[in-house]
C-alpha cells in the first residue's frame, strides 16, 4: 500500500503529460510525421511488434554480451592490476585511452577489422562499458580498512586470503556501482555501434530501425523504437539495482536492508 502511494505521484504526472501531449497533437493538428501522439505510437508499437521486438532482441543481445564482458573483463583486469603495481602502471594508461577515444571514431575501423558483425558491435559496446567497472573495482580493491588489513597481517594471512576475505568483499559495492553505470553505457555503446554500422549492415537492431524509420519518415515507428530503447535502459538499470541490493542487503548502506 505504501509502495503504491509512493509510486502514485510520478505515475499521475506521467499520465497527465501523455494526455496533454495527445491533446496538443490533436488540437493543433500536428502531422504525424512531425510529432505523433502517444496513442498512435502505442498503436504502431502493437502493429509492428514483431519487427520492433525482434530488433530489441538483437540490441539487447549485444548489450548483454558487452555488459557481461565488461563485468568479467573489468573486474578481471582490476584484479590482475591489484596484484602488481608494475602491471597497473603498464596497463592503466591504455585503459584510459580506450575510454577517452570516442567510440564513434573507432567503430568504423572495428567493423572493418572484425569479420563477425555481432562480435564487432559487442566490441564497440564493450569499449564504452568496461571502464566504470575497471576503475571502480580498482578503487574498491585499494579501499580495504587499514585496521582490518593490519588484522590480516597480524594473523599472517596469505595474499590470497587477504584478497579473498578482505579486498574482494570491500570492492564489491564499488564493482556493483560501476556495473550499474556500465549497464546504461553498454546499451548506449550498442546503439552507437549500430548507427555506425548503419543501414548497410545485416544487423537489424533498434538503432537500425530508428535510422530506417527516419529515412522513410515513419516517425511513429521511430518513436516506438525509441520507447523500447528507453524501456530497455530502465529495465537494465532496475535489474542491476536489484542485483546490487540483493548482494549487499545485509551490510552496505547503499542497499535497502534491515534498518539498524
Amino acid at each position: 500500500m505504501r509502495a503504491l502511494l509512493d509510486r502514485l505521484p510520478p505515475l499521475a504526472l506521467g499520465l497527465a503529460a501523455l494526455a496533454a501531449w495527445e491533446a496538443a497533437v490533436r488540437g493543433f493538428q500536428v502531422p504525424h510525421y512531425v510529432l505523433p501522439g502517444p496513442l498512435l505510437i502505442a498503436e504502431t508499437l502493437w502493429r509492428d511488434a514483431g519487427l520492433l521486438f525482434g530488433s530489441l532482441w538483437v540490441t539487447l543481445r549485444i548489450t548483454a554480451a558487452a555488459l557481461c564482458a565488461a563485468a568479467v573483463g573489468g573486474a578481471g583486469l582490476a584484479l590482475a592490476m591489484a596484484q602488481s603495481r608494475g602491471l597497473e602502471r603498464a596497463l592503466f594508461p591504455y585503459a584510459v585511452i580506450a575510454q577517452v577515444t570516442p567510440v564513434v571514431a573507432v567503430a568504423p575501423l572495428i567493423i572493418i577489422w572484425v569479420d563477425n558483425a555481432f562480435a564487432a558491435l559487442v566490441l564497440c559496446a564493450l569499449i564504452v562499458a568496461f571502464f566504470p567497472v575497471l576503475a571502480n573495482t580498482m578503487a574498491g580493491l585499494k579501499s580495504a580498512d587499514r585496521n582490518l588489513a593490519d588484522l590480516f597481517r597480524l594473523y599472517d594471512a596469505t595474499p590470497w586470503q587477504a584478497l579473498r576475505f578482505l579486498r574482494i568483499p570491500t570492492a564489491m559495492p564499488y564493482f556493483l556501482a560501476g556495473l550499474r553505470i556500465s549497464g546504461g553505457l553498454a546499451l548506449v555503446g550498442a546503439v552507437v555501434a549500430e548507427f555506425v554500422a548503419g543501414t548497410g549492415g545485416a544487423q537489424t537492431g533498434l538503432a537500425y530501425r530508428i535510422l530506417e524509420s527516419g529515412y522513410r519518415l515513419q516517425i511513429p515507428r521511430l518513436f516506438a523504437a525509441l520507447l523500447l530503447l528507453s524501456a530497455a535502459g530502465i529495465a537494465i538499470f532496475a535489474a542491476l539495482n536489484a542485483l546490487s541490493n540483493r548482494l549487499l542487503r545485509h551490510w552496505h548502506e547503499s542497499a535497502e536492508g534491515p534498518r539498524r
Binding site: D150, L151, L154, Y155, F165, W251, R260
Partner: protein, 250 residues
C-alpha cells in the same frame, strides 16, 4: 617471568614526526598493564610495534620467553573501533582468525561459539554487524581477539567510544576474562579511572616524542569490584596517577 621487554625503542615517521623515543617497558607474564598518555604521544604506534605490524627505527622489542607461542594468533589485537567486516556475520567475524590459520568452519564451531559466549553475545551468531549496538560490536571485536586464546592481548582504547555504563560493564567482563584465561594484557587508555580500575601497573607516557614518564604499581586488591570505584583508596590511586600524568605533560 618477563614476557615482553621493550628497550630504547624509537619510531620516526617519514615527514619528521618522532612518535616514540627511548621507550623502555617490561611486561610480566600474566600482568595487566595500562598505557596512559595524552593524545598523539605514540600509544598506538607502540602497540603496533609490539604486535609486529611496524618496526622500530632504534631499540629492541624482545620476548625473553620466546615470542608468544611463535605463531600467529598468540597475540590478540583490539582496535579503538570495532573493525568488524560488515559483510560477514558475527560468527564469521569471530571465526576469521581461525579461518586464516587454516581451520575449517565445522572444526572451529565450538571455539567460535565459546569466544562469542565469553563476551555475552550468545544467540547473536548469525547477526550482521549493522544489527548490533556499538557496545555489542566492541564485544564482538574482543571475542575475535580471544578466539585464538592469545597469550598477549593488545587493546587500543577499546572502550573510548562507549558510554560509561557500557564501559564499566565491559571493564568487569574484561577482568573476569583475563582472570579465567590468565593472559597478559597491554591496555591503552585516555582515562585515569579506567587505567587504575583495570590494571596492576600503569605506565604513564609523555608526549612528543613519546616516552615512558612514570610507572606506578596500582596498590589495590587484585580482585577488582565495581564498589571499589567509590572507595578512598581508589580515589587516592587515581590522584597519584593524575599527578604523574600532569607531571609528564608539564
Amino acid at each position: 617471568m618477563t614476557l615482553l621487554a621493550i628497550s630504547g625503542v624509537a619510531r620516526r615517521f617519514p615527514g619528521g614526526t618522532t612518535a616514540l623515543d627511548g621507550v623502555s617497558l617490561a611486561v610480566e607474564d600474566g600482568d595487566f598493564v595500562a598505557l596512559l598518555g595524552p593524545s598523539g604521544c605514540g600509544k598506538s604506534t607502540l602497540l603496533r610495534l609490539v604486535a609486529g605490524l611496524d618496526s622500530p627505527d632504534a631499540g629492541t622489542i624482545a620476548w625473553p620467553g620466546g615470542r608468544p607461542g611463535y605463531g600467529p594468533g598468540d597475540i590478540g589485537f583490539v582496535f579503538q573501533e570495532p573493525t568488524l567486516m560488515p559483510w560477514a556475520t558475527l560468527f564469521d567475524n569471530v571465526f576469521l582468525p581461525l579461518r586464516l590459520g587454516g581451520a575449517s568452519r565445522t572444526g572451529a564451531r565450538d571455539r567460535v561459539r565459546a569466544a562469542i559466549a565469553s563476551v555475552g553475545l550468545e544467540g547473536f551468531e548469525e547477526a550482521w554487524p549493522r544489527q548490533l549496538s556499538g557496545g555489542m560490536r566492541m564485544r564482538a571485536s574482543i571475542a575475535r581477539a580471544l578466539v585464538t586464546e592469545p597469550r598477549l592481548l593488545l587493546m587500543d582504547e577499546p572502550f573510548a567510544a562507549l558510554d560509561e555504563i557500557t564501559r564499566f560493564r565491559l571493564n568487569d567482563d574484561l577482568l573476569s576474562i583475563q582472570r579465567m584465561r590468565g593472559c597478559t594484557v597491554l591496555f591503552v587508555t585516555h582515562s585515569v579511572f579506567e587505567a587504575v580500575y583495570l590494571s596492576r601497573r600503569v605506565a604513564v607516557m609523555s608526549g612528543r616524542p613519546g616516552r615512558i614518564a612514570a610507572e606506578l604499581e596500582v596498590a589495590l586488591p587484585r580482585l577488582r569490584a565495581p564498589a571499589m570505584r567509590g572507595q578512598a583508596e581508589f580515589a587516592a590511586m587515581c590522584g597519584q596517577v593524575s599527578d604523574a600524568l600532569s607531571g609528564a605533560s608539564a
